[in-house]
Structures are given as C-alpha cells and as structure tokens.
Symmetry: D2
Subunit: 291 residues, 4 copies
C-alpha cells in the first residue's frame, strides 16, 4: 500500500529547426519541429532530486542542432539517428522517442523560372514521424496531419437508428469534409525509402477520399486506411482520426428561396469525431511504437 | 494476411453546454464542453456503409442537452449518467467514454454585495473528467488542465551529466514555471463527493508545488502526485504532464548592469516536457479508463 | 503621378519580460508582453536599404530588458520611459509607441498563509497600455482585454425592425455574454496613479455590466463606458469592443421537455460585434494616441 | 462637459459561408468568412435601449446566406452587393462595411484526372476584401494575409547605428522570412475584374519578394508595394504588415562544428514588425476605406 513512481519520461519539446541545403545555387529548405522524450533509470530525480542520470533537455536540444549539421535526409532517418544516440550514449536512458513534424514549402517562381532560394509555406498537410528505440529494436511511425479535404457530393447519411433523442433528418446528398490525421506503422526500419513511402501514402489517402462514394465517414475512413495498406505492403497498420466538419444546408425558405445543395453554413463545434484503425491480420506486434 | 478493421470509436465532440440554475434569485451557471466517444459493434458502417447500428452523433448531442434539463451536478456524475445511457440503450454500443471540461466562473460583486446573476470567467485552470462505462463496470478520471503556476525561487538544477553536447550551466536559483495537466483515477465511482474531491486535489497540487524546494521539475512532479494520493485515499493513481516553461535570466552585462535574479525572458519554444505517474502499489487495474 | 513611400513604422513586437522583485522574502512578479513601434526619418532604409537611421529591433529588445533592471512600476510609466528614450536618444526617430500587455497572477496560499514566492496565473482579463511620445507630447491609453463576463438574466432584445430577411424571435430573457476589450484615454500623463486608475476603471466596467438591465448590448456598452468616465474625471474617452457571445436556448420540445431558460448552447461563430466610443464633449484632441 | 456617445458600429462577424456551384458535374466551391459592420442613426439603442433602428445581426447573417443563393462571384462584388443592400434598405444605416476572407482550395486529382467534386484546403495565403458604402460612394480594398514566404539568402543587415544597448552583429547573409499581410485600395469599384487583379497583385508581391536583394525588410516591403502599384495602374495605395520571423544561426562551435549558414533556430517571439504604405502621389483620398 505504498505510493510509488510509475511510468515517466521527459525531454525537450518543439525544437524548431530549419536547415538550408546550399550544395548548389538552388537551395533546399527543411523546416522541422522536433520533440524528444526519454525514459529509463530516472527514479532518483523524482524521489531525491539527484540529477546525475538526467541528460538535460537543453543538451537534447543542442544534440538536435548538432546532428542537423551533417544533413537531415528523411525525417524518419533523422529521428532514428537521434533516438539511437540518446539510448546508446546514456546508460540511464533505456528508451527514446523522437517526434518530428515537417512543414512543407513550395518553391516560388520568378518570371516563369523556379526561384533558386525563395519559398512559400504550403498549407496542405504537415508530415509527421515518431521514432522509438529501446537499445535493441526500433519502431517507425509515419503520418500526416492538418490535411483538410472536402467532397461536395457523393456523400449520404441515412438508415441510422432513431431513438427518443433523434431529430436528424436522413440525407442523400451532403458535403463531407474532414481534417485528416493519419499515422501508419512500418514493418521495418531498414532500407526504407521514407520519402517515396510518404508520398505514396499521401496519394493513397487522397485518392481513396475522393473516389469513395460515402454512406458514412466511417466507411470513408476504412477505405482510406485500406487503400494505404493495399498500395504499400511495407505498412502494417494505420490509425486515422477524422473530425466530421459539418456543413449545414442553409434554410432559405423563409426568404422564398430554395437551396438545392448550394449554400451551406460551416460549423465549428460540435463536430463528429471518427477514429479507427486498419491493419494486417498478420502484422507484427506494435511494441511501444504507439505509446 | 488480410487487411482488417481494428479498434475504432466515434462520437460528437465539443458540445458546448451552459446551464443556468435559477432555483432562487441567486443564479448558478455551469459551463461545459462535452465529448462523447462510443465503441462496439460498428464493423458494418466501416465495411459496407450500413448505419443501422450507428447512433447518430447528432443524437448524442441532443442527449447531452436533454439530460442537462434535469440538472448536472458534478461533472463526473453527469458523465456517468450519459455513458450508462448510451451503453444501456443501444445494443450495438459496448463502451462509452464521456469527457467533460468545466470552465470556471466567479461571481461578480456590485457595491460590495455578491451579484445575483453576473459572473466573470476565471482562468485559473479547467476542471476535467473522463467517464468510461462498458455495461458492467464504470471508471472515473478527474483532473485539471491549464493551471499555470510559478515559483520565483527555491528551484535549482545541477549535477546533471555533461556529454559533448552539454553547454547548460548549473544553477542554484531559477524560476520554475509550468502549466499543470493532471488526471487522477478514483478507486470507485460509488458515492463519491466529486466536488469535494476535486477541490481537495487541486489544493494538494498547489500546496505541493508551492512547498517543494525543487532540484528538478521531476522532483516537483513526484511531490505533487504523492501529495494528492496521500491526502485522498480514494485516489489510486495520478498522471501529470508538466511543460517546463523556461524563464532565462537576461544577460545585462553588455549594458554595465548586473542581474541578480530579477529580469527574465519568458521563452515559448522549445520547452521541457516532464510526464510521470504516481500510484499506489495495490491500486486496482486501470481497465480502459486511460485508453 | 509618382509612386511614393507613405506612413511607416517598425519595431520589436512581443518581448516577453518577467521581473521578480525580491526586495523582501515576499517576492512580487510582473509579467509583460512589450511591443515597440518607431516612426521617423526612415525613408532611406525603404528606398536604398541604407540602415544608418534604423535602430535595430534587437537593440529595442535589449533596451526593454535593460530598463526593467531599475524596476517597472506601473506599465504606463514603464512604457513612457521607453518611448521617451527612443525618441530622445535617436535623432531619426520622431515618434515612439510602446504597447504593453500585463498578465495577472495571484499569490498562492500554503496552509492558509500567503506563499512568499508562489503564484498562479489568473485569467480574468489582461491589463493593457499604449504609450505614445513624439518628442514634445505624450499620450497614454490604458485598457483591459480578454475579460469575459456573463449575465444570466436581465437581458432582453425586442422591438428591432423586421425586413424580408428577419427570422429572429423577440426575447424578454436571454443570456448576455461578452469578452470585454476596452481602451481609455487619459487627459494627462503627469502624476497619474496608474494602478489605482486601472483598478477603478475595471471595477466601473464590471459594476456597470452587472447592474445594467439590458435591452441591447449597445445599451450595456454605453453604460459601461459612461460609468468609467463618470467615476474618473481624468479619463477623456473610452472605446469598447464587445463581441456578443451568443447562447442559444436549446429546443427540448422534441424530447417532451420544456426549457425555462436553463439549458443553452454556447455558439462560437458567427457572433455579434458591438463597437462604440463614449467621450467627454470637451475632451482634448486625441492626437496620435489611437493611431 | 457632458459625456456623449461617439463613433460606433455593430454587425454580425465571422459568418462562415460555403457555396457549391453545381452548374456542371465539375463542382466549384467558395469558402468565405463574412463580417458585417453597420453605422448610422444608432444613438437610441445606446442611450435608451430602443432597438427600432437596429437591424438585428441575425438578420444580417440571414442576408449573407440569402444573397449567396444567387451566386457569389468575386468577393469584392459580393461584398459590395451586401454593403449597398444594408444602406439602401435601412434608413437608419448610413454606412456599411463588409469584410470577407476567402480560403483557398485546390482540386484533387484521381488517377491523374481532375476530380469533379473533391478538394484540399490550400494554405498559401487567404484572400481578403473590405467593401465600404455610404449611400453615395463605394470603396474597395483587396488583400492577402497568412502568406508565409522565405528567402534562404540574398538578405543582409548591417550599417545600423550602435548605441549603448546594441549587441547585434552585422550580417551579410541571413534568412529573411515573413508572413505577408497586404491590403490595397482600388481607384474605382466599377467594372473591375477583381479575380484577375488579385491574381496579378499576388504574383507581383511574390515576384518582388523573391527578386529583391534585401538590405532590410523595409527595403523588401517597399519593393513589394511598389511592384504592385507599378504592375496595376488601378491600384492607388497598398499597406503592408510584415513580421520579421527571425531565424537565428545555431552556434555549433561548442561541439567542434562550423555552421556555414545551414542550421537555424526558428524563433517565435519576439519578432520584428515592419509596417509601411506605398501609394501614388496623385491617389484620390482614401475616404473611409481604411477606417
């Protein structure tokens, strides 16, 4: 009946790192938000305040910048290098998790030609990665967030049960809009072309969203997840979180007007929230990847 | 090697409900943000788009408002009533989770007397609760978030290891500031005075934060968690997430000025993030409470 | 028909300064967000890129921290000292405007006694000030923002015109809620007790909000502004911006329930926005205070 | 020495309107945030609470949706129609200002072909417009906001004055990044091809940003503004607000590494804020456009 310390971890969060690759006159930029979380033999600092096993979060931040000097590459590779470093170099650290968000930029054009060193921030989704290493095994999650998509038709919602609190009318035509957050687990971290894999998964998600005639956002979610796994055998599992961003048809009848699916009110809250997982039935165990 | 549907849930999120209790001329207000998540026999809607087992999220929203008509009481009780309703009334729903955030308001005074129906929003933390019910058992989490606190002294950080990336200087006096997010698990959901329990836990957290001479934010975290469990035997476990909101001493030496711990720069990012659990070693299993 | 440079200004924005006053064991903290904007003889840097008249924004930031070393006092005084410094020390700077937001904190108690150096962030409004100096005259605005208030009754809205697009029902009882942003102009900057003036104005605003039986938010706005000017002869003018944070009565009739002003839905958007000015008819000219 | 009502206005803010144009199988969507502000003979509601001259903000919202039924077109035209309606139909309303933000979406492709009704939200800037009408004259502002751009070289900052608080080093190579907010005033509201004008102005801003070798952000601001006016004779004036989003070179020397302009820390706050106007010296008066 003692009071004890349970699971814990710590690290530096939201290190905002921008790298300019200047190998040629045509620059490339990489814009990251890196968060580190370390776990291990950390009871002392909790119980007595002794910090001799606590790699300072300031040191973690320095390490991120120093490692970036040699180049970043795919964020999954960069995250794995960092995670391995923390576990392999610190006896007290038994597990490291590195999360990286990558903001996308598009190259500007000047006079029709690609600008050599000018960019505009794109807003069509942020690439994400979570890398975990425990000294023996490594796990990689890739993903995307803040990817807002909309189908202006080919969405229905009907046939749902009606209890004493149900007032919603059935509809055979509605707007379906969501902001996609998806995270997928790779079967391996060896010799993966992470950039190609990400581009393909993003395309799979968008293709399935656009091509699915939807009777529910759940059906669309499943179609999106299944498409990713069908298109890439190296992905074992995908988890999706899809807010249903409601667009309500404006009632114009008081003004003597019809409204054949044209004028909508975009609501903020409340919203539906649909969350689901699609996976291979022979997928290896997830291990601590999702923790 | 088939592709299959895994864990999933859905519901209406962020239902913004305000209730006015008008029993007397002295009104009371309850300001809530309610999110429902339901799980169960939901494969059909994912696989075929058949919605006959999908209680519409709009219906869930209606239910929240209808249930509020009879009064709210403690948010834990209100959430339990809702969670039980969804599972007990819908054969396809096997588990319901209701999360409620409660915003605090303080009564205004006019001419020195408490105003009967006028309030100002307080900003000193939002009370939270997560209630889960599976048809047989119920689990209750209570908590607080957005509670920002600061100690202007009695905080040190030294004795940490120095590797090749370490540049941080040791300090024997720093500002310690954090925005507390804490969630604690109750051993039972029966006959709990939730409001008294919350008030006591909030006091325990603040007392421990203020009274702990800190050698690390981890030490403070453990002290805060332990205090809550020590003060309330009915709490089995607490999880804390404490961002270390760094305040850096401004270097005024270029201007011929000293700075004996007086002028600080409050940084946004990066920040340390310290997460930990304190629990009783004989605590009952958490079940799905934290899922 | 030439293309010319018009009005311009520049400066360092959002300098996050925290000061700890340690005069006694009982510490005090001051938590500020300071933004500087300078105007003057700045054509060169726009037209040729010559920066010999451009006091670097980094220098402005340094100045804020260095000036804080000697103490802050009321934010109006601190801002005036800064504004005067920039204009008086730089021949090219003809006007300086310093905006300061002050976040409020409350002292924690431990065991019933006030804690000597522990604080919690309060959320009941942020104090603001804007100080302008042109080398000859100074102007002071004080204000408050993010002060959210609610009356649960004593608010009506009826008698408005009904055109072909009007569907709103008249109401004799509604919730009236708003987030107050108010800025008031002082007749002088000499020998003002800024802290006392602010406290009084805040009280005036809240008292008038609570005590006004409201037929429109405009009426409440006017009452609030007039009260501030009535209570403090040294305030010449006040401008208020009041979003009407709508709370809609939930229609529970489909569920066989009445709803006598008890259960509301708090909407995010759209919202009404009511903006207005109350001033003395013999107020001195505002000069550049509001620019 | 009486206390009087000064300038005032009111309206419905942030009406979130989405229109689907279904003229063909290839849908188009228009995603707007519309805010209305009306001024006129509104003393009564402030002074007595009589609302007989107050067109309800709910009615304003309805009007926005009803007007959208007939089509939107360019947001400047839509805003002008609304502004004219409010002034022309309500004797008590003497001036209307309608602000519209338009969020951009890009059409998805499926299998290489443009999708007929599927879209992704783009994040490369929000188009804005502010239309003002006083019963006689109309004024149009167009603009863009949240357009984040970055040059990874061709930016210097040196030659600035050094006072006692200056510590900044001169640089001959830095990252220049900003989030553009620009608003420009048209010389007329008659027969303007608003969409073409906006596209051209956006291109002018980006071209000038990319092509300007910058000695200060002020120089870049002026070049951007001048380019817009040079490229479009129908634009009389442009105002720009450019935060200087600092990217600081990471000091890697403690780790035995150089850093030739490759690894940067992207800071949040404080930031420089550069604001300026470029206009024609024979521009007609702005009237109430910017109020």
């Amino acid at each position: 009946m003692a009071i004890v310390l349970g699971d814990n971890r710590y690290g530096k969060a939201e290190v905002r790192l921008v790298r300019v690759d200047r190998g040629t006159d045509r620059h490339e930029i990489t814009d990251l938000n890196v968060s580190v979380a370390l776990a291990g033999d950390l009871a002392d600092t909790h119980l007595t305040g002794s910090n001799d096993k606590v790699l300072a979060t300031d040191t973690q931040k320095n390490t991120v910048f120093a490692f970036a000097r040699a180049g970043i590459g795919a964020i999954e590779d960069f995250g794995l290098r960092l995670a391995r470093h923390f576990v392999d170099s610190q006896a007290s650290i038994h597990r490291a998790r590195v999360r990286i968000d990558q903001y996308s930029w598009t190259r500007l054009a000047v006079g029709g030609a690609p600008a050599p060193h000018s960019f505009a921030r794109a807003g069509d989704g942020t690439r994400t990665a979570v890398l975990t290493y425990d000294g023996e095994h490594a796990w990689a999650l890739s993903g995307i967030t803040d990817l807002t998509v909309l189908n202006s038709t080919d969405s229905e919602f009907w046939g749902f049960p009606r209890d004493q609190y149900t007032t919603l009318q059935e509809t055979k035509d509605r707007i379906l809009a969501t902001a996609v957050t998806a995270t997928w687990r790779h079967t391996t971290t060896d010799a993966v072309d992470w950039d190609a894999s990400f581009d393909a998964a993003r395309t799979s998600l968008l293709d399935a969203f656009a091509a699915t005639f939807s009777h529910s956002l759940q059906q669309t979610l499943h179609a999106m997840g299944k498409r990713v796994l069908t298109d890439d055998p190296a992905i074992a599992e995908i988890r999706l979180s899809l807010p249903n961003k409601h667009h309500f048809l404006s009632d114009l009848t008081p003004f003597g007007l019809d409204n054949p699916g044209e004028v909508f009110y975009a609501a903020d809250r409340p919203y539906g929230l649909i969350e689901g997982t699609v996976l291979r039935d022979d997928a290896p165990p997830a291990g601590p990847a999702w923790d």
